[in-house]
Amino acid sequence: MEKKLGVFVCWCGSNIAGSIDVDLAVAEAAKLDGVVHAENYMYMCSDPGQQLVKDTISEKGLDGVVVACCSPRMHENTFRKAAGAVGLNSYLLEIANIREQCSWVHQNNKPLATAKAVSIIEGTLDKVKENLPLETITIDLTKRVCVVGGGIAGIMSALDLANADYDVAIIEREPAIGGHMAQISQTFPYFHNILELLQKKIDEVKAHPRIKLYLNSEVEVLDGYVGNFNVTIKTRPAFVDPAKCTACGKCLEVCPVSVADEFNRGLSQRGAIFRYNQTEGARIPVLEQRDCLHFVDVEDVEMDAGAGEKCTACVDVCPENAIDLGTIRTFNEEFVGAIVMATGYDLYSPAKMPEYGAGKLPDVIDALAFERLLDPTGPTKGQVLRPSDGQVPKKVVFIQCVGSRDPERHKAYCSRACCMYTAKQARLYRQQVEDGTAFISYMDIRSDSRDFEEFVQQGMEEENLVYIRGRVAKVIQEDGFLRVFTTDTLSSRQLEIEADLVVLAMAMEPKAGIRDLAKKMNVTIDGDAFLSETHIKLYPVESSTKGVYLAGCGQSPKDITDTVSQALATAGKIQTMFSNETLIADPLIAEVKNDVCSGCGICIDICPYGARLMNDFTRITDVNQAVCQGCGACIAACPNKACELINSTSRQFIRMIGDFAGKAEAV
């Protein structure tokens, strides 16, 4: 039976109506086969616009609708929902994209653009004619969450979810949670003690019955799909049994190894067994296998006398027998419905800046190292001292945008937090060293949140921070101090500053290894390897894979406040998802014609989602309905034409192409 079709043409203000004659388009559409109704409206997506569509469907008894408007990515859902609300099967409504694919690209030829729009409408009508009414697919939902990354983003997301009574597993690569926040001394713009704030949250995480912590751990494999993920977690051995260890610290004293402490950014040394950081939770020592003489070829390492081959100094001294060097890595599995990627950032390496000493000048340090100097629990007990000689630096030059805003050689983006933390660091330095001078080399001061501007201005007024507008060209070490070659673009002077200490506000970049992890998690990343959100405004915390959410600096550089907001947003989105007992999915997926399929299995290899499986009994391939995304890869690959995409069959497409091509010839 022939369907009764309706066509609704949207003006999209002047977006469409400016280059397409919408009245003519409606008149032409009305003449097409099967069309019983055609009209246009200024904003079809608006309330009255949608009402118009709904009313017409009811009144005219339409059983097929084409809305000619913007991309289906924008409003397909809107209109399908509207159609569904008045009893028309949603899948009998299609969008004809006459904006992105027509009006926007043909702005100077109205007759031609109109003709093209009509042909797009005609093709879409032909598709609708063969569309089947479909029902959505139901998917099971496991109401547990896995949070990748135990920095502040991961912590805040996990706490909200756990407090909402869901089980959460936090996977942290390091031996302790807290992330970079644990390295920072005080906050801007209110000089709060960070460690105090963070410690409270860490304690909450540790005490929470709903949260399971995987330290020293990474995601090994991710299987499954939204609602039904299976995360395989690899845990490196900790070697120290927290149940036995009393944190007496004897092992720390006997370890013969001395290497740069990463947590203190190389400003102090540590043994192979060490306390990871100064948070309460990290009092139990951890042993780094790659530094330990028990595991490495001893001849390569300079060591204290007495530490022989297969060193067991720590094991021997431990009064509680808490250290077992025979521990091996373990694998665990977590079944979860949703995942939060809170993978965080690293600082871009100063080694990549040869003009600033390539990381080789001891008194040129990065901003996190300076945080360690400011931290009362840090290597200098909070005293700002030069790494080279332990003297109090009287002149400190802070250089901003190091590696940032540099599309030519480094990173094109702005790292967002540096302006504020530099102002904070300079103020804290000046509060500590009264006769010191702090110079800040900047291009633009970006103090753009509530009380940030005031914070910077106060720094200039009260701590007399000397802001110099100009990018530093070079830093050299000469005659026992650092020479900083810069310019003040405001007084038009080339400047040379003799400094005792230079602090580089290095660009923030995604955590090392993010490319591999993103691949494992099947989430897309941008050119700078930041995790990509689906839509910056509408879906700012949703990744490209359903059920995987993004929070914090892994998505783009931001400060703690914005990170926390984002983390809480992921928790909100997941709670919303978990408020249902099952999930529903789009039925527009691949379908196998059992009588044509030869069971060759090409589709299994080609499927990017792992949705195609060989049925061992029938020897033909099945489609996992929950996993299939309807991408069509298997359809193109199938040598027997045994696959079809439901409601986008080859037959439908050939007719559509015929419509477009026919019109093109006529034009």
């Binding site: 040869p354 003009e355 390539a358 070079k474 050299i476 070490q477 000469e478 005659d479 020479r483």
Partner: protein, 291 residues
Amino acid sequence: MKYPYFPGCTLYTKAKKLDDAGRECSLKLGFELEELKDWTCCGATFPLVNDQHITMSGPTRILADTKDQGNDKLVTLCSVCFNVLKRTNHVMLNDEERRAKITDFIERDYHGEVEVLHYLQLLRDEIGFDVLKEKVVKPLEGLKVACYYGCLLLRPVKEIGLDSMEDPTIFEDFIRALGGEPIEFPYKVECCGAFQAVYSMDTATRCSRDILRSAKNCGADVVITTCPLCQFNLDDRQPEIQKSDPGFSSIPVVYFTQLLALALGLSAEDLGFERNLIDPLPLLQEKGIIA
């Protein structure tokens, strides 16, 4: 092994010592620099504006000659010639429009086929510094050398590509191969003032002063260079520097081929040190490199 070689004007006259030593050493190292036939001046400046085709006709002709004489490489010793030829070749390779204009004008067929090599690059990439090390008969032991790169050997880095712009090492590796001790000094890639020596002598004097001071402060005995213009500025500006800065003590500035020749056992008498304003001989004697 023969390499086609472009000496350039200055090396034929005022920097003859740079040239002579380079050629002599090549024989010691087992290769020969074969002088390009009928060469002309490279123009001494690469035109930095894109409508000045005429000044590129000279270097293009040199490169076309090289190709027509059956070569795919061309070696230079002078940084200036190296820079001009290398950048010209870059245009020939990458800028179809300018190439067409220039090759039409000089009526030659050339598409950037020749690879322009600096002598240092030849030693590093084709001969090998390890081989060089083995051929050294008089190691420059105890000689602290400031390796001064200047501008044209390195910049623009995307077109020249010889080494890192901020932190190059080829020169230091070369000196180490000769048994000398390269010192790190922060001014090794800064400009000496270049052709400002004919316009703003103050610029050349000040630039040279900063470089030499830095080299001395970092413990250098001698400064080496690949460029006759750098050598001229750094050497000849020293009396002037001393006038404004009485504390400044002079330091010899020599060509890298001169030290190479000494290390390979050539006699100091043949190396033209007498043209140097600041005489390097006392230093070389003191270090026991020459008798």
